[in-house]
């Protein structure tokens, strides 16, 4: 059975990349950060794991090892958002990202990662697991939990737009 990313047309992929770029810029604006310090990506469930979709990212070029990142449901910000169906924010200091992923993935996250916003994207039925998790993160500059929570409203718009774009032919 195809996943979300498997069945997207090239045009849909391009639109979704534009949406990821918009989400990144909107979140940066809310947080008063340079957009260059903010990145966006999508994780989807593949064979029981949550895998980053390598060609649906924004501002993540230059670190190919990150594009192969996988996490387990319930693990870190992305995995917790997926498992609970609730938005999650995580923040930490240098070196904190090790606990966000498994030991075999510990060298993949950006070493200057400071915060993550993870938004699960639902389908119509509330009993199903999210179709994917939209995740936006920031490097080098920290923000408070309250500031990060404020950015989640903007992110929720973009997550739903991405869902709609995936259904637009």
């Amino acid at each position: 059975m195809p996943s979300l990313s498997d069945r997207l047309t090239p045009e849909q992929r391009e639109r979704i990349r534009q949406a990821l770029d918009g989400a990144r810029q909107d979140v940066a604006e809310v947080l008063g950060l340079s957009p260059e310090l903010v990145r966006a990506n999508i994780f989807e469930a593949v064979d029981g794991h949550l895998a980053l979709v390598a060609d649906l990212t924004s501002n993540m070029s230059g670190r190919p090892q990150e594009l192969t990142l996988t996490v387990e449901p319930g693990q870190g910000a992305v995995g917790t958002a997926y498992a609970t169906g609730e938005p999650v924010l995580a923040l930490g200091e240098a070196g904190w990202s090790g606990y966000l992923v498994g030991a075999d993935q510990a060298d993949k996250p950006h070493p200057e990662l400071r915060w993550i916003l993870s938004m699960p994207v639902p389908t119509r039925s509330s009993t199903e697991e999210p179709l994917f998790v939209l995740s936006v993160d920031g490097i080098r500059e920290s923000r408070s939990p309250e500031e990060l929570a404020r950015a989640l409203e903007r992110l929720s718009y973009w997550s739903l737009l991405i869902l709609a774009l995936a259904g637009t032919r």
């Binding site: 319930g74 995580a90 199903e128 709609a164």
Partner: protein, 94 residues
């Protein structure tokens, strides 16, 4: 936003999930805004993509329309991968 953990402050509740010496993680519960307040770049991409319904919607209606837009072309083409945990109504998170 007062940011009191575990309490509703200006419509946002931060629920601590994990707290360590070097990091913290929270689940966040947001109230749905009563009206749609898209940014200019959001509106432009949506309209350029043919999603003109954005012009007149409340936020709650937008959630339903976005889901319908996806599922009307996807019911027989895609299902979420095998579930690993139940999802208690993720739409309410927005």
């Amino acid at each position: 936003m007062g940011g009191v953990e575990g309490q509703d402050t200006d419509g946002v509740v931060l629920v601590p999930v994990d707290q360590r010496d070097d990091s913290r993680m929270y689940m966040v519960r947001l109230n749905s805004p009563s009206i749609l307040r898209p940014t200019a770049r959001f509106r432009k991409l949506a309209l350029d993509s043919g999603l003109s319904f954005l012009n007149t919607l409340t936020f709650d209606t937008f959630v339903r329309e976005a889901q319908n837009q996806f599922e009307q072309t996807s019911d027989d083409a895609i299902q979420p991968r095998q579930g690993l945990a139940p999802t208690p109504g993720a739409a309410r998170a927005v």
